[in-house]
Each structure stands twice: as C-alpha cells, then as structure tokens.
C-alpha cells in the first residue's frame, strides 16, 4: 500500500484554510481572509508569505483612500498543489481505491 506524501506547505491548518478559501473566489482582500479564517493579522501574514514564497498565491499591494490594501489570488501552481493534496488525502482515506 503506497501513501502519497502530503505537501507540507498545505498540510497546516491556516495555510490550507487560506488556499481553500482562495480556490472558490477570484481574489480576496487580506481583511476578508482574516475574517473568514478567524485568524490574527500577524499569524495570517506569516502564512500568506509562506504560500507566496511557494508561488501558490499571488499577492498584490495597493492603496485605497490612502490605506494599504493586500489582495490575494490563487495561482495555477496553487490549484495544482491543492489538487495533489486532495488526491494524497484520498490515498490515506481510501487506500484501496487508488
């Protein structure tokens, strides 16, 4: 029986939550992600940086009415990584089917 390795970048609660959230929308502001994931700004920015370093998400910084605005968007690489993560997860849950 072979288990696929779970991507360590995604196999962390907050990073997985961020990727899952961004998968279902086109783009989202930092404050929206913070609100939906019930996380703190500090922790979220660390996790977002890690996802950005892995090129799983794209982060753009803008200004709106003189306030900084961070917009996050999932990349095709992020979508692939998520799909592989789910497949790997399935291999753990239903090992006989893969």
């Amino acid at each position: 029986m072979e288990f696929k390795e779970l991507d360590p970048i995604l196999h962390a609660p907050l990073r997985l939550a961020v990727i899952s959230l961004l998968l279902s929308v086109k783009e989202a502001e930092f404050t929206f992600i913070k609100e939906k994931t019930n996380s703190t700004a500090g922790n979220l920015s660390v996790q977002i940086s890690k996802l950005k370093e892995a090129e799983y998400i794209e982060v753009t910084k803008q200004f709106r009415d003189n306030y900084p605005l961070t917009i996050c968007k999932i990349t095709p690489r992020g979508v692939d990584a998520f799909e592989n993560y789910v497949k790997a997860l399935q291999s753990y849950m239903h090992p006989g089917e893969l």
Binding site: A12, P13, S20, L23, S24, V25, K36, T37, M93
Partner: protein
C-alpha cells in the same frame, strides 16, 4: 509544536477544506439595487411616454427617456462605491457583470441599427427578446428563481408583441420590467438583508 505546523488528521484537513468552501459558496452579494433602479426608471419612462401619446397626443414624449442618462450616471457612481466596499471578488460577480455588459453592448448596437433603418416598430419587441437573456442567465447563475421567471416573462411578452398594436408595445415593456427587474429586485433585496 507551533499550531500552524502541527500534524493534522485527514478528517481535519477535509473539514477545513469543506468549511472554507462553504463560507464563500452561495454568498449573495447582489443587493438588487441596480435591478430596482433600472426597473423603476424604465417603468416611469414607458408609462410617461404611453400616457403622453395616448391621452395628450404629445409626440415628443420620447424625451422622457433622457432620464436613462441620469440612471447611467448614478450606476457609475454606485458601482465605483461598491467596488471600494467589496473585500472579495467572486467568479459569480465577474460572470454576471460580463453578462450585463454583453446585454448593454448588444442593446446599443441593435437600437442603433433599428433607428438607422427607421424600423421603430421593431425596437420594443426586440428589446424584450434581449431583456430576457441577461435576466434569465443571472437567475441561473445566482440560482434565483424570480429572475429566471422574469426572463421567461420577457420572452413571452416578446412573442405576444406581434399580436399587440404598436402603440401598446410600451405597456408590454412596462410589464416586462415589473416581472424581470422590479419584483426580483425587491425579492433580491429582501434575501440579501436576510443573509447578510
């Protein structure tokens, strides 16, 4: 171990994924404001032009349609403000935006051609055909039945138009905006208030 790097069980991973997807799924961001704006503006224009022609024999009643320019200005301001407030852009919002943009472009080109050809009698029936399209599609995308029914009403009224005298076509248009924009607009507003 750091909370972010701790090992999760498979069930925990799946629950995070489905939880996050559910939080954005079916999130209604449509307040119905633009449906109501356009619904009421077009209704007032239709009734005003109809009344001025039928009861006062005033031939320049079409000038009331200049009101639509005010609606266009209001729409631009409203959309700019809404864009500022929005913290998330969903695929649904984007697709619906393009559906209405397509409708506006097609409507503009069609009316331009019909005016050039002096085919005034065809304008309202064809506008009704066109009205049905974005209304019906928005209903399908938002999974909102009143808009689907509104779109179908537009097409039924368009089908009825060859059997209705030309001077009453404006009333068909008035019925269409009530069915396709005003009623769904109020229902959307109520649904939005309830969900948010």
């Amino acid at each position: 171990m750091n909370e972010n790097e701790r090992q999760m069980s498979e069930a925990e991973s799946l629950s995070i994924i489905s939880g996050m997807i559910n939080r954005t799924k079916n999130r209604l961001s449509e307040t119905g404001t633009l449906y109501l704006l356009w619904g009421w503006v077009i209704l007032v224009c239709c009734i005003a032009q109809f009344v001025s022609l039928q009861y006062f024999n005033y031939q320049k009643g079409y000038q009331v349609w200049f009101l639509t320019w005010l609606a266009v200005i209001y729409q631009f301001i409203y959309l700019a403000k809404r864009k500022k407030r929005k913290k998330v852009k969903t695929y649904t919002d984007e697709i619906i935006g393009f559906v209405w943009l397509t409708f506006m472009i097609c409507g503009f080109i069609m009316v331009f051609i019909l005016i050039k050809q002096k085919a005034y009698e065809n304008i309202n029936p064809l506008i009704l055909v066109l009205y049905g399209m974005p209304t019906f599609l928005s209903g399908i995308i938002l999974k909102f039945r009143p808009l689907i029914i509104g779109g179908i009403c537009c097409w039924l009224l368009a089908l009825a138009s060859p059997f209705v005298p030309f001077e009453y076509h404006l009333l068909l248009l008035a019925c269409a905006v009530i069915a396709a924009w005003i009623i769904p607009g109020y229902l959307l507003r109520a649904k939005f208030k309830k969900e948010n």
